[in-house]
């Protein structure tokens, strides 16, 4: 379950203690709830059901691309 899509954080704002993010997902910009502390504009997150549930880790992302690359070509 649990469709999650990558999104770029454009802005953050607070409503009381709640952190609301403006994120860009494909062709749209949407406000979502932050489920992660200390996000900054420019970071990428996984958004599920209107909540950012996880950061996308740039280093690991590069890593997996390499793994794929290898697996795809090694044979």
């Amino acid at each position: 379950m649990c469709l999650g899509v990558p999104a770029e954080v454009l802005e953050t704002r607070k409503e009381g203690e709640l952190v609301i993010l403006k994120v860009k997902m494909g062709g749209v910009v949407k406000e979502v709830i932050s489920g992660i502390p200390d996000l900054k504009p420019g970071e990428y997150v996984i958004v599920h059901a209107g909540v950012a549930i996880s950061r996308i880790d740039e280093k690991e992302l590069k890593e997996i691309l390499n793994v794929w690359e290898e697996l795809g070509s090694l044979y």
Binding site: C2, M25, G26, G27, A49
Partner: protein, 346 residues
């Protein structure tokens, strides 16, 4: 399908449920001899429009209702959509649009300025395409009995010989432009996700100048043409192939779609193949001229025109009448004609 005791949005989705309700409640009741007139086509085929013949001239007529919300959206408005939709149905029949009739129904209290803008955009488009406005109707419904405004449009066109959709084995399937642009934009607007224009924009526009000349030029090689509006590409292909002995095979990764549209629909879990476009056509054409047609389309101003598949005679009987997609990873799936997509989180 059992229609059930109440009509639901599924019945109006433009998918097979809509076809079924039309067939069961309407076509079925009309005697064969009253399903068409004067040597033309009508309820007997359920194509983009109907036709009749006077001497050597085929008159093509199409009527449609437009109920889109919001009335104004990035890339157009309901007036723009009504004209484009009706003219495109004529174009898909291979007819040159000559006249339009409008039926405007507004809710009491509708802002005059909005009405003005809608009519202006309607008439502007008619002028640009040299189509006459020869009549219509204007009604006002009491407050709260209609949400805003709806438009009915009837178009009249002339064709030497109309295109009646009938795919042939060996045909190549051409898509003239990126899919799902209109439907994605409307969905985003309805979900309140359009606060900033971010690359979503309806493609609503008439195909009179770009696609029609090619349909006229290659008339005898074009076996089917349809605009993938309600229900999108998957409905068009399924309707074409349903009941035949053929299979339509498409190569899903070749279908033109813009990143912004794909990513947005991915985020909602909605398949772009079932989402409407209002500025493109799907064609089924002779293999020999397919590349030539694509090149011509590029020249005429449809740079994204692409061959996305073909009509085959399947080896396996159970594939007859179906649409099969080769996926991005080389897998094979059946493309089902489901027209109503609800956004999902799962």
């Amino acid at each position: 399908m059992v229609i059930g005791r109440y009509i639901t949005t599924v019945h109006g989705s433009g998918g097979f449920e809509t076809l079924e309700i039309i067939e069961k409640l309407i076509v079925h009741r009309v005697p064969e001899n009253l399903r068409k007139v004067l040597d033309g086509v009508g309820l007997d085929v359920l194509d983009d429009g109907s036709s009749m013949r006077i001497g050597n001239t085929h008159i093509v007529i199409s009527t449609d209702n437009f109920t889109v919300k919001p009335l104004f959206f990035p890339g157009g408005d309901i007036g723009h959509l009504a004209v484009s939709g009706v003219l495109n149905d004529l174009v898909m029949m291979g007819a040159r649009p000559i006249a339009f009739m409008d039926g405007i129904i507004v809710e009491e209290g509708f802002p005059r300025d909005d009405l003005d803008r809608i009519l202006e955009s309607m008439i502007k488009l008619l002028k640009e395409n040299n189509v006459a406005l020869i009549g219509g109707d204007f009604k006002v419904m009491p407050k709260k009995s209609l949400d805003g405004l709806i438009i009915s449009g009837t178009g009249i066109g002339l064709a030497e010989k109309p295109i009646i959709d009938k795919i042939k084995p060996g045909d190549k399937i051409i898509v003239t432009g990126p899919i799902a642009e209109h439907g994605a934009t409307i969905l985003a607007a309805q979900l309140g996700m359009l606060e900033q224009a971010q690359g979503l924009r309806s493609d609503t526009r008439p195909l009179v100048k770009t696609v029609l000349p090619i349909l006229e030029k290659y008339r005898d090689h074009i076996h089917a043409a349809r605009d993938p509006t309600r229900g999108g590409l998957s409905i068009v292909l399924n309707e074409w192939v349903r009941g035949t002995k053929y299979t339509i095979v498409i190569n899903r990764s070749t279908i033109p779609i813009r990143d912004e549209v794909r990513q947005f629909l991915d985020a909602l879990g909605i398949d772009p193949l079932g989402v409407a476009g209002e500025g493109l056509a799907i064609l089924s054409v002779d293999n020999e001229v397919a590349d030539e047609i694509v090149e011509e389309l590029h020249r005429r101003g449809e740079p994204y025109a692409t061959i996305i598949g073909e009509v085959i005679v399947p080896e396996e009987e159970y594939l007859a009448g179906r649409v099969i997609a080769i996926t991005e990873v080389g897998g094979k799936v059946v493309v089902q004609p489901n027209a109503l997509n609800l956004p999902r989180i799962c």
